[in-house]
Symmetry: C2
Subunit: 176 residues, 2 copies
Amino acid sequence: MDRAIAVLDEYGLESLTMRRLATDLGVQPSALYHHVPNKQTLLTAVAEEILARGRRPRRAGEWDRRAVEVCHELRDAMLAYRDGAEVVVTAYSFGLGTVGPAGELREALRDGGLPDDLVGVGTRALLHLVFGHTVEEQTALQAASAGAIDWTPGGPADFERGLELVLDGLRSRVGG
Amino acid sequence: MDRAIAVLDEYGLESLTMRRLATDLGVQPSALYHHVPNKQTLLTAVAEEILARGRRPRRAGEWDRRAVEVCHELRDAMLAYRDGAEVVVTAYSFGLGTVGPAGELREALRDGGLPDDLVGVGTRALLHLVFGHTVEEQTALQAASAGAIDWTPGGPADFERGLELVLDGLRSRVGG
DNA sequence: ACCTGAACACCGTTCAAGT
DNA sequence: ACCTGAACACCGTTCAAGT
């Protein structure tokens, strides 16, 4: 797991192959299949580890500030490793909603007193915003640091303004 | 182009390889490189063709209803072909914003009289919502039709409720 | 201009065999 | 239990050579 994340962070997702990881570990590729059934499972484990390493204590009390906090933690966790956003988003799209923060977000919206169906709609909307923004941001950051692009993308400020758009929508529906 | 989309729709993105497309066309793989510099370019062209085939006339007059209309057109276009959402989202993440509907969305928000920076934030938020929802919906639909899953995901109703959340946020900021 | 044939440098995964 | 060695069935891409 440690070596997988190290290879990912140093050489990128396209270089995180079973063969390369095996070489890095000084082992034959086939040896990996005694610890993991296939590559997708390996990548899911990497995604979970990235999220676990990004975990922080909750501070906010209000449900909406807590939702923003979870979104920031998620973004920061993904940005902490090269191609982290892609890895997490792909893992999420496989095991729909299994990955950690979805549950915490859902809980926050529920605590806000929103009706059940809106909790679902709102949670997915926030997750999609975080994922979309962060993949775009990370791609642009990496392209910029490679000199392939001249502009820099919207950072935390733009990120939060996007979140506020849907939180406005949610707040106006509390108790509705 | 026609054969590429046909192969995609019949066998899925993972089967749309240069070698397979070549075989389908009765030609050697190397022959494709006289029409396209690499696979990514081919996939971008496929994405553009999928969007072009989904193009519909604009009906709505109001800027916010027009934005919803563009989002629906985008979703429908992607859902029309197997793995269409993945192909379009990937292409988008490479040539950031070059793909068609982003401009139309941007134009709609601008017509709404929103300040320039909010136009950018809002456009990206809507795009990310459409992409996130549609990839999730299509993945679940395909998993369900393969019998791999029992539930069905949120369709057009949930889709539109998500959009309305951010449109509420945007409307409340018109003239602000 | 467009294509073939052959090669290069890779993939993920399986499986008998070893210790 | 954990690993090796060897193979299977693929990839994207390049390039000299043909028409």
